[in-house]
């Protein structure tokens, strides 16, 4: 089943690449995303094959094509991983792997909304500060928490510039088998690593296929690389020089 989907994404990839070549100088920003509107590609990785740094997963989010500011993406993430319904925790204590942030320039009053989640930095401060190495960056660029050796010190939450991480404040029930969570540990967006390893797209990408391209940043021919080359892609807090894997257009 997933093979079919992968083939479909590959087809879209070729189309997107073709679109870039054909569109030449007159590329409109939406064009690339429209052509790659399946949301990108994620080839299946056999389970016995190690993750390597040959690939670096990333996503480009076109904020101008998100009329809801990314609320559907956030809802899909919540549904996929089951966070945010902790019964005892206060609003400030509940887990938030992703959220919609509204930004208004103080001077110009120019305003836009965007979904903010783990930005999957190349140089993640959360990984640097973690005393045990539980906060880790997989070879393919996915930043996540090894919940077996997380001691719950929350130093990574102090270090993250994006407030992308949550601490689980209570016992949990009814967890998703593919996305285990645990009291006393820190968690965050893991780019739906369970899906990527099966050749599927992250849940949020599927929820907004017209606005998001997902794929391999290391492959210059990938839809995301082509789209980024054509449209550019900004980072939140680019001044920190973290080289994020999540990029935005229209911010």
């Amino acid at each position: 089943m997933s093979q079919n989907r992968v083939d479909e994404y590959r087809r879209k990839l070729v189309m997107a690449a073709g679109g870039v070549a054909a569109g030449a100088a007159a590329l409109a920003s939406g064009f690339i995303l429209r052509e790659a509107n399946a949301g990108g590609e994620a080839p299946t990785r056999p389970a016995d094959q190690a993750v390597t740094n040959a690939r670096r997963w990333g996503m480009l989010i076109d904020v101008t094509r998100l009329p809801d500011g990314g609320a559907a993406m956030v809802a899909a993430c919540k549904q996929e991983h089951g966070w945010g319904d902790e019964g005892h925790s206060s609003d400030a204590q509940k887990a938030h792997w992703a959220r919609v942030v509204k930004v208004t320039d103080k001077l110009t009053q120019n305003s836009f909304s965007l979904p903010v989640m783990c930005q999957h930095c190349e140089h993640p401060p959360c990984v640097d500060v973690c005393p045990t190495g539980a906060s880790m960056r997989r070879a393919d660029g996915i930043v996540q928490v090894n919940k077996h050796i997380c001691i719950g010190c929350r130093y990574c939450m102090m270090a993250c510039p994006y407030k992308a991480r949550s601490f689980v404040h209570e016992n949990l029930t009814d967890q998703r088998p593919y996305s285990p969570r645990g009291i006393g540990t820190v968690e965050s967006c893991n780019m739906c690593v369970h899906r990527i390893d099966e050749g599927r797209l992250p849940a949020c990408v599927e929820a907004a296929p017209d606005a998001v391209v997902f794929g391999d940043l290391n492959d210059p021919g990938s839809a995301i690389s082509q789209a980024l080359k054509a449209m550019g892609g900004k980072q939140i807090r680019a001044d920190l020089n973290l080289n994020t894997g999540v990029r935005y257009h229209g911010i």
């Binding site: 204590q93 938030h96 930004v103 320039d105 190495g133 601490f167 209570e170 807090r237």
Partner: protein
């Protein structure tokens, strides 16, 4: 080494000893209850959130850890800098240091999401993490302080007294550099992310450690009927003033620098002017009560040789220290992260908003439990081993009129 002429003696067994232990035991029990309660239910019973992730337990823990390294300073002045008046207090200084560190660490560990995984923290090291380095520094400090005590207590080990003193002194400076750097290395938060936090924490350690040491020394001597002369107390008194001045200077430099940098103007305005409880704690508790009042008590001519004034100065310095750490830790987190400089941000998850934090009773209980543990260790330590000189009267402390 002056302590050759000094006789060290355990404190006597008496009702006071057991009353003190019983009182401290109550606080220890409260700490234990708080730990088990939060451990059972999860951190939702505390005031800490995903916005203010470190709270009151961390204020207590960091105070005790910073004070620990400062408490060792009294011994170091005798050993490293050769000031004879301080040498008889070296043993107690190291005992207080070890006790404070363990009290702080227990609070830190018991507040972890997974205190049961302490062994993981001891076996998995990420050497890019200053936190991991701190774990090594804490353990090393305990070992070096213990060795230092040994060289002071065992005349066969006397040859190692100086090297052990130097090693412990150097280590404690590195340790507090590491503690300050826990915040100094945080790139994302406007109120931290500065190298000055390392020397600031060292200066703070001098104040906190000495203030605690003064109170412990005074109580230990008064409650056991031993003599404690003005020579020792006055030396400690003026030393405390010097350290408070050093903290004020570094705080001034830190805040002026931040005020100068437009990027940090927001958080500075928050802490110094608009921050409500944080602004009040900074100006009233830290600066006025915690710094200027102790300096006045110390330098007021009429209060010279006044023991109550000295105890008050030390007590207010401790109060100011707690306030300072509260402002740094909680105030620094209450101010929101800057996602888009120059823009206003909002969300359903407190972006752009000042984060609220109200410490819960459990957090206080845990913190106070850590303090109680430190004091229990000191109380038992001076009872079972020869930490305290029989007398620190002026004749003993300064046999030749001092120098």
């Amino acid at each position: 080494m002056a302590s050759q002429a000094i006789i060290f003696r355990e404190t006597r067994e008496g009702r006071g000893f057991y009353i003190l232990l019983a009182v401290l035991g109550v606080f220890l029990a409260l700490g234990a209850i708080a730990f088990f309660y939060a451990e059972h239910h999860g951190h939702y019973v505390t005031g800490m959130t995903n916005q203010v992730v470190w709270g009151m337990p961390h204020v207590f823990a960091i105070f005790l850890i910073v004070a620990a390294s400062g408490a060792l300073n009294v011994g170091s002045i005798g050993t490293v800098f050769g000031k004879q008046l301080y040498q008889p207090m070296g043993r107690l200084s190291a005992l207080v240091a070890i006790s404070l560190l363990l009290g702080g660490l227990i609070v830190l560990v018991l507040d972890l999401g997974h205190p049961d995984r302490l062994i993981v923290a001891m076996t998995h090291y990420n050497f890019r993490s200053i936190f991991a380095w701190n774990i090594i520094l804490y353990n090393g400090f305990l070992v070096l302080s213990a060795v230092y005590i040994w060289t002071m207590m065992d005349r066969h080990a006397k040859a190692f007294y100086k090297p052990a003193g130097f090693a412990a002194f150097t280590w404690r400076l590195v340790l507090t550099t590491g503690t300050g750097s826990i915040f100094g290395f945080l790139v994302a938060r406007d109120f931290y992310n500065s190298a000055i936090l390392a020397p600031l924490f060292i200066a703070m350690s001098f104040v906190f450690g000495l203030a605690v040491f003064i109170l412990v020394l005074y109580c230990a001597y008064k409650w056991t009927g031993r003599e404690l002369g003005d020579a020792v107390l006055n030396r400690l008194r003026y030393l405390l003033a010097v350290f408070i001045g050093a903290v004020l200077l570094l705080e001034l430099a830190r805040h002026l620098t931040s005020l100068y940098i437009a990027q940090r103007a927001g958080v500075e305005a928050f802490i110094l002017h608009d921050g409500g409880i944080y602004t009040q704690l900074f100006w009233v508790a830290q600066i006025l009560l915690g710094s200027l009042l102790p300096l006045s008590l110390i330098f007021c001519r009429k209060l010279k040789n006044n023991h109550v004034a000295l105890l008050l100065a030390a007590g207010f310095a401790i109060l100011g220290g707690f306030a300072q750490l509260y402002v740094i830790l909680i105030g620094g987190q209450a101010y929101p992260l800057t996602l888009f400089p120059g823009a206003e941000v909002s969300s359903d998850y407190f972006d752009g908003a000042i984060n609220a934090y109200t410490p819960s009773m459990w957090e206080f209980m845990l913190g106070v439990g850590g303090v109680a543990l430190s004091l229990v260790m000191v109380t038992i330590g001076v009872k079972v081993l020869r930490f305290l000189p029989e007398s620190l009267s002026d004749a003993v402390a300064e046999p030749h009129g001092g120098k």
